[in-house]
Amino acid sequence: MTPLGGTGGFMEHKNINVKLKVWKQKNSQTAGRFETYEAKNISTEMSFLEMFDVLNEELISDGKEPITFDHDCREGICGTCSMYINGRPHGPWHATTTCQLHMRAFNDGETIVVEPWRANAFPVIKDLMVDRTAFERIIQAGGFISVNTGNAVDANAIPVDKDKADASFAAAACIGCGACVAACKNSSAMLFVSAKVTHLALLPQGEPERRTRALNMVAQMDKEGFGGCTNTGACEAVCPKEISIDNIARLNKEYLAAGLLSEK
């Protein structure tokens, strides 16, 4: 489905009614269930999250419990929104976060199934909100460079190959939303970890901690309970920032080299 498709003509504005089948769960300790809601008179120019805002306002005014979901910047750059919509992380549009998904992607009368990211490493906090602090701990394990503080260094002081800088930047575009984990049949976080490792491994600033970074981040990834990568490519297909699966191969190389060459 194209960003302009779904309801007919080019950017045609109209109001639609959709039925929502949404996952409701009190907390990580209780069993959840699907509940059905009617979202009526929804503008096709609304974002998917705005549609949820409207629905939640109606639920609150009716004295019912609203649906809990994660959101922050609503500009597609923070990686906070996380909904598995009609069997796809972030919904039907390619390279789009849930907050940038618009209701023109859906047809009048359509039933939309909305689920949380499902992975043992991402336990449900409530409804559609999951705990993604496992990603934070992976970053803490090695997704950084250690530098002495002081005056800012001239940006051009260290020469960087343009192709490597571009590849590093492309990997750095990862917003850590977790769609890769959600889509992977193994709940693997390899695309996320590989993006973070690649981002720093290609730059001279990341060179000093290159080996320990790969080893420590993978060790933390395993500790958090993510699965292994079997190169199916589902992660790449759903990534809102189009992070390439080739980064995973690079992480494999970094990890193997670090494992074979480490002193300890």
Partner: protein, 236 residues
Amino acid sequence: MNWSQLFTSTIGKKIVMSVTGLFLITFLVVHVGVNGCIFKDAIDSSDNGDMFNRAAQFMARNVVIRIMEYVLFAGFFIHIIQGLVVEFENRGKRKRGYEVNLGNRGSKWYSRSMGLLGTILLLFLLLHWWHFWIPSRFTHAGIEEPVLLSNGFIGHDMFSLMKATFSEWWIVIVYVLGCISLAWHLMHGFQSAFRTLGLHNKKYLNMVNALGIGFSIIVPLIFALMPLSFKLGWIG
């Protein structure tokens, strides 16, 4: 990091799968090369399987091949056990599945079905061993009469054993299905093995992808033609 950690992490387990998988791929090249000698009979009807029997006899008396047979079994064993471990561990990482699955929108069905395809191949392998490896090495059932080869050696008449085995349609069909499973298994496994070993350069990845597709089609096709050729009377 010690050696144990290197091979027991999620990446390490895949490295083991990759190395053993690539080793088994090299075995397939040897296997299809030796067994392909049966097709000499299609070109020269007087051959009567002599070229194949000579190749089989060479493999049986070559000390390097005999040693490599143990390495091969170790390769099979590790690949199968590790494959099952990886499959079940990964399945356990999502306690509750989705109401609506991503399915083919995100990946190819065969890349998601390596465990299933591998299990089918394991069952096929057991049958294959029962038909050929066990008679040739232990029981000699169906090859009791030794055959004098054109190079002066005396060997087992494996060609006749193949002919007799593939005289039944159900066996031919099972072997063809086994070859189809092998093709799909290789279609993903070939390129995935290189990625797991860290091949990330686009130039080489494109080459490996093309090579993998070619290998996945050609090798299983040659294997599948063997039972079909016997049954359809093209050879023998």
